[in-house]
């Protein structure tokens, strides 16, 4: 198949050999699980359980709220011991609502968990519904609820499903290992997703540094028409979905659009595997494969881990640190986030735990930009990172936006090549955050203005109504009096109506 080139990109040393080819080990059930309610993009899940309640494995413990959200299930059987705040696996280290589960060690599945004998007989919408019920989210790290993406066929003319097995981040081998061991299950899951989307064509894109995974998937797809395995060139960020789609189809996704705009939907192989488990066995997403690796880890491994396991337990299982790590990261080294502390839990989107030595990070003090243009050459999005950074530093966010700040995918290629070691990604993320805050402030302002106007109108209406009521009463009183006056003799009670009016006005 003919491949197309993308602009920019970098060739980081992949360091996958540390954990590549190590069979997926199942991590023993830990003593406690901390299951955050926000593990996906979208609205936070709503807890369904109470303290001291007993739950079976796979039982729903929090349900999705709104259109973009995902339910959460008990990773194993046990008792709910806590429902409160716990530090999140997020660089801020802030606490989020978390369900704490004490496993009973029996790992007993919920009795209603059962698969579909022939999932291909299901309606596309039914497949998507089951995927939604299983709490499957994008396991490549973006954690977008998968069922929402499976429903795109309704609104877009789709032609192709791409399974993104590029795993272009250095170090990570979880997708690689899963493809080697579970190729058939992944292909089955991918075909189910294709059915849900209503597309005939499936492309597996796998970078050339994973020959075993390529061979395994090739073998697993041999029997099926319309499924193709493509060996991708090794270049970061090949796994960026828009760039992957461009490599495969030559078509460019419109800026700030979706790949669905050009008829393509991209899913991760681990997601395909989760779909397979959800449909064939009815098992919700309660565990995932994670690479625990990096130069500071004593024994790098690929582990199948229950969601909610503390990162400490993973590190423990890998014989702890060979040396004190200079940096601990959830995800890959290019786009991963620092881990605030070791007790934070694994989430659905955690694909790797990296403990890097100081030598591996290559970090140095930032120096002034010498305008060498390396970042311009490396940017896969055609931006001028150096110019944008200068604009952000000068506080001219509007200029940065017009030079393409919002088209930045945060891949870090620019900062990776920068000889001055400028924190370019940080600079752009700061600017994006600032713009988002500004947007919110502006929205708040217009909302406040709207409410204030509304209130003024309401008060005005009340006042008017009161005046009218008063006038009416006065008229009635006058009429009554006239009638009385007409009936009785003339004279005496002339001043009473005025007093009555005064009384009304003061109340």
């Amino acid at each position: 198949m003919r491949l197309f080139t993308i602009r920019g990109g970098v060739h980081p040393e992949d360091r996958k050999a540390l954990s590549a080819g190590r069979p997926i080990e199942v991590l023993p059930i830990p003593k406690l699980l901390h299951i955050p309610l926000q593990q996906h993009i979208g609205a936070i899940a709503n807890p369904l359980v109470q303290r001291r309640q007993y739950v079976a494995k796979g039982e729903r413990i929090a349900h999705a709220q709104g259109a973009v959200s995902a339910p959460i299930h008990a990773p194993t059987s046990g008792r709910i011991v806590g429902l409160g705040l716990y530090p999140a696996n997020h660089p801020s280290g802030l606490s989020v609502r978390t369900i704490t589960l004490q496993p009973d060690g029996k790992d007993r599945w919920h009795k209603r968990i059962e698969g579909v004998a022939d999932p291909f007989a299901l309606e596309p919408a039914e497949i998507a519904q089951r995927v939604a019920d299983a709490g499957v989210v994008g396991l490549g790290g973006a954690t977008f609820p998968s069922a929402v993406k499976l429903g795109l066929g309704k609104r877009y003319a789709l032609s192709t499903l791409v399974i993104n097995g590029s795993e272009c981040e250095p170090y990570l081998t979880c997708d690689d290992q899963l493809m080697r061991e579970q190729a058939e299950a992944i292909v089955d899951g991918a075909r189910l997703m294709a059915r849900a989307l209503g597309v005939e064509r499936i492309l597996f894109g796998i970078e050339g540094n994973k020959p075993e995974a390529l061979a395994a998937v090739q073998q697993a797809t041999a029997a099926f028409d319309g499924v193709e395995v493509v060996r991708l060139p090794m270049r970061y960020p090949m796994g960026s979905e828009k760039h992957l789609v461009q490599t495969l189809t030559g078509k460019e996704t419109p800026a700030r659009g979706l790949t669905a705009d050009i008829g393509v939907v991209v899913h991760n192989p681990a997601t395909a595997f989760a779909v397979y488990e959800a449909l064939r066995f009815g098992q919700p997403l309660v565990s995932r494969v994670i690479s625990v690796t990096g130069g500071a880890i004593s024994a790098p491994k690929n582990l199948r881990v229950l969601i909610g396991t503390k990162i400490e337990d993973l590190v423990e299982h890998c014989s702890r640190f060979r040396e004190e790590p200079a940096r601990l990261i959830a995800g890959g080294p290019m786009m991963g986030q620092p881990i605030p502390e070791l007790r934070v839990p694994v989430m659905k989107g955690t694909n790797g735990i990296l403990a890097l030595t100081a030598a591996e990070t290559g970090r140095r003090e930032p120096a002034p930009c010498i305008r060498c243009g390396s970042c311009v050459q490396a940017c896969p999005c055609g931006l001028l990172p150096l110019a944008m950074a200068a604009q952000v530093r000068a506080g001219d966010l509007d200029a940065a936006v017009s030079s393409g700040l919002m088209d930045c995918i945060g891949c870090g290629s620019c900062a990776y090549v920068c000889p001055a070691h400028l924190p370019l990604v940080q600079c752009f993320n700061h600017a994006k955050g600032e713009l988002a805050a500004r947007g919110r402030a502006k929205q708040k302002q217009t909302e406040t203005k709207r409410l204030a106007e509304h209130r003024a109108q309401r008060l005005e209406a009340q006042k008017r109504a009161k005046r009218e009521a008063m006038a009416k009463r006065k008229r009635e009183a006058d009429l009554k009096k006239q009638a009385e006056a007409a009936a009785d003799s003339e004279g005496a009670a002339a001043s009473t109506p005025a007093a009555a009016v005064e009384e009304v006005e003061t109340c």
Binding site: R256, G336, P368, I370, S374, G382, L386, Y416, N429
Partner: protein, 356 residues
């Protein structure tokens, strides 16, 4: 364990400003050696003087600006500026002129604008042009290349190390020698003078001992040495091909066009490449990242324009060589070039970008 917040990416290519600068200095070695061979010890004396002055001036400026001195000195950018400056001035220049040129380059052109990364103009070239305008005679009095045929034909002498040092530091000429006996017009200068006198190129080539195989005698090998260094920089990925190819391409095509029109009135293209500072300029000076364009298309435009301006000034301008002027002129244009040569943003159509 608590970790301070650091942004992704969490690994970086080992690629540092100081190493870039060291490689540039290393790449200057072959050309410099050839220059010392042909023009004597004055070249090295100038380089040493300029380097010392530049580092002191840089440190002084940073102290005055209350900025950390050591990191800035250690990036070797001042050294590279000094070396390039020293390679453009004649080996006979008095030490205090070197000092003035360097002070102008480092203090005014570089540090007043904010130091490394912020100077719109190439400091070495600005320093050189400052001297060229202030002391036109001293800065254009070049030694003849040490080629026996040429020395005999013109009855010229070369300078020993002691003589060179004495000339630079005290301005005293060696016993019994006059300026005329130790200096000679550069090939570019001679070509202009003789062309202005109405001579045809064939006559000039036949009559003057200044012409070598493909450029000025001696000069052509200096240029070849710098070409070697430039190729080294390309291979080490310190520079990309865009600017040097565009500069040389611009110069070549402009000179070839006119040479084809009248080969007797306009010198052949290789003469332009190998007689003056074109090669040094294309690989070492125009590629100075701080003052050059940063986009690929921008670099091609920037380079080609430098090439054409070099030809224009050499042919119709008031100075025999023009690399410094051409580079400075295009430095002014860089912000504009950059703005209009931004690559297309992923997923955006050209027309759509205007609106965004």
């Amino acid at each position: 364990m608590a970790m301070s917040f650091v942004s992704s990416p969490h690994s970086a290519r080992v690629n540092r400003v100081d190493q870039v600068m060291l490689q540039v200095s290393l790449a200057l070695v072959p050309g410099t050696l050839v220059m010392v061979w042909f023009f004597g010890w004055g070249v090295l004396i100038n380089m040493a003087l300029a380097t010392v002055f530049a580092v002191i001036a840089e440190a002084l400026a940073l102290l005055l600006r209350r900025r950390p001195v050591l990191p800035a000195i250690k990036d070797y950018s001042a050294v590279v500026t000094a070396l390039l400056f020293a390679l453009t001035i004649p080996p006979t220049l008095p030490w205090w002129m070197t000092l003035i040129g360097i002070l102008f380059a480092i203090l005014i052109v570089k540090q007043l604008y904010g130091g490394i990364g912020y100077n719109p103009f190439n400091p070495a070239m600005a320093g050189y042009v400052f001297l060229l305008i202030s002391y036109p005679v001293a800065t254009t009095s070049w030694l003849p290349p040490d080629v026996s045929a040429l020395l005999e034909a013109r009855d010229l002498s070369t300078l020993s190390l002691i003589d060179s040092a004495r000339l630079v530091f005290t301005g005293a000429l060696p016993e019994g020698l006059s300026w005329d006996a130790i200096t000679a017009a550069t090939p570019l200068d001679e070509m202009r003078t003789l062309l202005d006198q109405g001579q045809r190129i064939d006559e000039i080539r036949a009559s003057s001992p200044l012409w070598g195989v493909f450029g000025g005698r001696g000069w052509e090998w200096v240029a070849a040495g710098f070409l070697l260094g430039g190729i080294y920089l390309l291979r080490q990925h310190v520079i990309t091909w865009h600017i040097p190819v565009a500069v040389l391409g611009g110069l070549l095509s402009a000179s070839a066009l006119f040479w084809l029109l009248d080969p007797q009135l306009y010198p052949f293209p290789a003469f332009h490449l190998f007689s003056g500072g074109a090669i040094l300029g294309a690989f070492f000076i125009a590629t100075d990242p701080v003052s050059a364009s940063t986009t690929r298309r921008g670099q091609l435009i920037y380079g080609a324009a430098i090439g054409v301006i070099i030809f224009a000034i050499r042919t119709w301008g008031g100075y025999p060589d023009a690399v410094a002027f051409a580079v400075l002129l295009m430095n002014i244009a860089v912000p504009t070039i950059d703005q209009y040569s931004q690559p297309r943003v992923f997923g955006q159509r050209r027309s759509a970008r205007k609106k965004a």
